[in-house]
């Protein structure tokens, strides 16, 4: 290997250079992109973790109203906090595969209706008790109870029977679901002693760190759990999350070295921050997407020609460039991208086509009255600007799109899922089935486009229990095409997670599952001093 390549590799492995930049510069030296990625992966692995020290993250998305009850976690900081003290049955890793955590083995019946999870022996909670199969069942039971107000209720409600025998947990489902292990990796489903029924907010779990100070909306500090079962995780002695909701304050703290990593870098300042010494920007292609949603059952959007006209009249490339500052990828009017397993990359990209849009609009026979798009600044970052871009490109195609600005306050209860045409965003799910089942199944609570197609539902349910991956991929491709051509979703862009870290942080790996390495950055990274 040339010296130049070695040098680049060392820089990229330490996070001083982005992956994309590395592949580009390696390409200039005659190295193929695939080889460059392999080299990078092995170089990143070769770096030895350093033990000890205090690792700090500054995060947006924490309030003084946050609770330690995993069932209630909804915003970024509670999620990251729970990922530090808690442990689920399984995790989804950066490659989209299952990592075994509290469960060490998973098996299913051929029709995927009965699943067995073998519980790892000798996993210890922070209070010294051992994790048992009964705890797992009690935890899942708590989340199926409506009173727990669990964010995972929709995930666990299909489990009709659960029982614990020795170290084996058996779950029976109402209908087959090949993705059940992925669902068990949901961040709400942290295994708690006794299921957390007596004290859901105790913050006692089996994760790599135990809670020292919990000051919601201010800071959360942790110390290493000495008897943690996995020695490859948890390098720092202490970790800390500091809640810094103000973007400028967060960036300053990173520059001044008071924090080692931060989430949510404002896309507007990415260019400026790239030149700052000691800091690198980490943009990770995730599954989150910014959308405009039309109700397929309300006039004028009950007309598929009109829906198609709207889809053709949005300029996706312009949105990615201007709204995301290039830190994202094009959407294609279905909620799935390459970050999902079994993604079909042969589906053609829909482009802005004013002529075709005008034609579809004419065909729809719309009476020319204004088509009102309701939008609030908080729908997604840059929502107002995105709506204005949409308005201009649609007007150019002769479609009378108008924008109605709504207040942020109450947007998610008064406008979203209520108004026939509005802006929204989706955070993405670990697997395709879950994304489609959450928002596009006829009976889903959050079917925010009111898309009701019996054929779509049937294919989705068939794909769910399908263990043959080839057939399954074909079924998902059919779902995507159906939604792309008939649905009420206009998906212009998938946003990257844009984060930043200081150079002394080692072990950083891009993870499409969630922010800050799916909440595990503090547990998986270390400090090079």
């Amino acid at each position: 290997m040339s010296n130049e390549l070695n040098y680049l590799l060392a820089r990229a492995a330490r996070g001083l250079m982005s992956r994309r930049e590395f592949v580009g510069r390696a390409g200039a030296l005659g190295v193929s992109a695939a080889l460059a990625s392999t080299l990078l992966a092995s170089a990143a692995r070769a770096e030895e973790p350093k033990k000890g020290g205090l690792l700090r993250a500054g995060m947006q998305g924490g309030e003084s109203t946050n609770s330690l009850d995993p069932a209630l976690a909804a915003s970024e900081v509670p999620f990251a906090v729970n990922m530090i003290w808690g442990e689920m049955l399984v995790d989804v890793n950066a490659k989209g595969e299952i990592d075994y955590r509290i469960a060490e083995e998973v098996s299913s019946s051929p029709d995927a209706t009965e699943w067995k999870f073998k519980i790892r022996k000798g996993v210890e909670y922070h209070d010294g008790k051992t994790v048992t199969a009964d705890d797992v069942v009690a935890t899942l039971k708590r989340h199926t109870d409506e009173k727990s107000q669990s964010g995972a209720l929709g995930i666990v409600k299909d489990i009709i029977d659960m029982k614990a025998e020795g170290d084996m947990v058996t779950l029976k489902l109402a209908s087959g679901n090949a993705d059940l292990p992925f669902l068990m990796a949901d961040y709400h489903l942290i295994i708690q002693p006794g299921g957390g029924i007596e004290n859901p907010t105790a913050g006692i779990g089996a994760g790599p760190y135990k809670i020292v100070a919990n000051e919601p909306g201010v800071r959360h500090t942790f110390e290493k759990h000495a008897n943690y079962f996995d020695s490859t995780i948890g390098h720092a002695d202490n970790v800390e999350i500091i809640v810094i909701n103000d973007s400028t304050a967060r960036t300053s703290a990173l520059q001044a070295g008071q924090i080692h990593m931060m989430n949510r870098v404002d896309p507007k300042i990415v260019g400026l921050l790239k030149g700052a010494p000691g800091i690198s920007i980490q943009a990770v292609a995730g599954r989150g997407h910014y959308v405009f949603i039309m109700h397929c059952d309300k006039a004028p959007f009950d007309n598929n020609d009109l829906r198609m006209a709207m889809k053709l009249s949005i300029n996706r490339q312009e949105m990615v460039d201007k709204i995301l500052g290039g830190l994202g990828s094009l959407g294609n009017d279905f909620p799935i991208n390459a970050a999902y397993p079994l993604f079909d990359d042969t589906i053609p990209q829909r482009e802005y086509d004013a002529a075709a849009a005008a034609e579809a609009y004419k065909k729809s026979g719309h009476d020319g009255s204004p088509i009102v798009l309701q939008v609030a600044a908080g729908a997604f970052p840059g929502a107002i600007e995105a709506a204005q871009l949409f308005q201009q490109s649609a007007n150019a195609a002769g479609i009378p799109l108008e924008i109605k600005r709504e207040p942020d306050d109450g947007y998610w209860s008064n406008v979203w899922n209520v108004a026939p045409f509005c802006a929204s965003y989706w955070g993405g799910r670990p697997v395709q089935d879950q994304m489609y089942s959450t928002a596009y199944l006829s009976t889903a609570d959050w079917n925010d486009t009111k898309f009701k197609d019996p054929k779509f539902d049937a294919t989705l349910i068939a794909a769910r229990a399908e263990l043959d991956q080839v057939k399954r991929k074909a079924e998902y491709s059919e779902l995507a095409n159906n939604l792309r051509d008939n649905g009420g979703l206009i998906c212009p862009m998938f946003n990257d997670f844009v984060e930043a870290k200081r150079d002394e942080v080692g072990g950083w790996q891009a993870d499409p599952n969630g922010e800050l390495m799916n909440g595990r950055a503090l547990a998986k990274c270390w400090l090079n001093t």
């Binding site: 946050n66 070295g257 306050d409």
Partner: protein
Amino acid sequence: MHPVVKLVTQRLALGLLLMLAVSALIFFGVEALPGDTAQAMLGQSATPEALANLREKMGLNEPVLWRYGHWLYGFLTGDMGVALTNGEDIAKSVGARLGNTLFLAFWAALISVPLAILLGLLAARYNGRWPDRLISGVTLATISLPEFVAGYLVLYFLAVKLQLLPAMSMVFPGMGVFERLQAIMLPVIVLVMVVLAHMMRMTRAAILNVMQSDYIETAKLKGLSPLTVIWRHAFPNAIAPVVNVVMLNLAYLVVGVVVVEVVFVYPGMGQYLVDHVTKRDLPVVQACGMIFAAVYIGLNILADVVSILANPRLRHPK
């Protein structure tokens, strides 16, 4: 009874009456909002049975006056109930936040009040000459700067560029006093910049007003130095308006600094209140409202009493 004691007692009684009125306003204002606490707690998942159960448990079926009395009694005995959103004891979490806010306000006041008065005296002494212009110009410039701009400016220069002071003013229990003081240095600088001008200008104006009086002329003719004239003869007679402005600014330092708290990540009352307002956590909002009202009323009573004591004409009313 000595007239001063009587006056002070009257003021205190009036203040208490005012507090009672404010408490009624806060309680019945929240009461008048559509929906009730049980509904706010259960949110969209509210079923009629769950609502009925929770109302029963929380005593929401009792008559409204009874509940007002109960709430007020709880507040007076330090029992403010628990937050709806995370079930934490309100008195405990508010106590910690209030402590932080008072700590910041105390140090900002300790620096800004003497400095403002001193600068005011100097500006009055050199009225119309360059020290006056310089002092007025600089302080008016700092008050004209919105506090978040001032915050970002000092942050950029002192924390990011020169790295003299920490960018975040994070304080937490168990932190040493010196560490705390270092942590709050930047917000204190910003707050001093914001409140200085108001107090300085009032001191200057009040003293210049008094300087027109005959007895100042006499003092000057006695041959006293200009600063002695101001300090011994003019200032005591200018205290009343100055104290009022000082108290207004102190009240601002306690209840109005949410923007500065956000910029410097300082865990004070303002951020706490805003978080709970956005989540409709009404018991917390009520508690914070009462505390803020108490601070305002208390400081204003103090201003009144000091003005009375400082002024012989008010001290011995005919």
